[in-house]
Symmetry: C3
Amino acid sequence: MDSNKVVENIYLLVVVTLISVVQNAFFAQKVERECKNHQTHTAAFERVSCTNRNCMDAYPTFLAVMWCAGLCLSQAPAAFAGIIYLMVRQKYFAGYLGQTSQSTPGYLFGKRIIFFLFLMCIVGIFNYLLLRYYGSDYKEYVQTITGAASALLLLP
Amino acid sequence: MDSNKVVENIYLLVVVTLISVVQNAFFAQKVERECKNHQTHTAAFERVSCTNRNCMDAYPTFLAVMWCAGLCLSQAPAAFAGIIYLMVRQKYFAGYLGQTSQSTPGYLFGKRIIFFLFLMCIVGIFNYLLLRYYGSDYKEYVQTITGAASALLLLP
Amino acid sequence: MDSNKVVENIYLLVVVTLISVVQNAFFAQKVERECKNHQTHTAAFERVSCTNRNCMDAYPTFLAVMWCAGLCLSQAPAAFAGIIYLMVRQKYFAGYLGQTSQSTPGYLFGKRIIFFLFLMCIVGIFNYLLLRYYGSDYKEYVQTITGAASALLLLP
């Protein structure tokens, strides 16, 4: 049952990863449809292609931070932050595809969520080092606080 | 020897990852050579660069799904599907670089394989939840079925 | 304490990943600032955007190889090589943004480090297979040699 113990610690992260893969496929299909409709590179194609590229550029960073946070500290808040990130990304994609006249959102998005996950990693490693050199384990407390703090991500 | 137990569960996935890295390096070298040959951005450079980008866009998605499938269910079918994906990608790259007059393949490729790996992840998580809440473990059966089903990927 | 045992084996890799994320954010901010300053796509924007893309193209490959090397063999040399890779990347980014007149560096960078990490993976898997089929474990020796060899990466 060793394998099941592994799954126990990562299954929420896997679920979020799968949802992000579905979203990637959705984005890619949008690009492909736009590409097939128009033989010439229109403004619409440029826009959808650029949006997709911005999302894809940030994707490995997001995955890496989410998995590190999930492995180092606790998976539930990390997966929750991941879900919110995916929602922000969806909104970003939709916003980018809007009217050209309106100002497009910038290159970056979801900075707050990435920062939260980043912080989780640091806290997790710090806690591990504390445990190793001083023998004091605050993981329980930290996990509770992180769980509560992740709710703050819902603020607009 | 704890580390060796970790290696036991992932070594096939690592092998596929390494092969994919070699392939990435091969693609990148093609781009670099084309880039050096021609100071101006020719059509050939555009094409090889675009192909490489399409491949790179899909790469994190592929890696994430393959590793999740390998960790959640069983590594041999996941690694096998990964190998086939790499072969499809090679063919895609070669096809893209062909004559401009012939229709280039679309933006997406290897959808079937990604879908298969995706399904493996879902089955793995579902099996874990079944085990957790009902105590019934079908992992043995599922792994056998998955191993057999992965042969279907060989169909053209 | 199972989770802490996981953290023990990966915490250096997580630290390097976090540093790489900070670097990614730094690159992305450079792109965003350039993008906002100039409404039209200037040569400077083209250059910073292209550099960022080259770095991002290689990023998943780097992450995958570093983590595989760290998991298969030993994390300290892998993390050390990762740090050096990040330094090379920083230099690449700065060099690319220099004068247009001077020759820009090529599409690829950090080949030596990727190759070193690649070799670590192969050695790790080879050692595992030796252990499995012949029962002889050279991991201790190999880890010592790898640690020493990683110092060679400091050579310019």
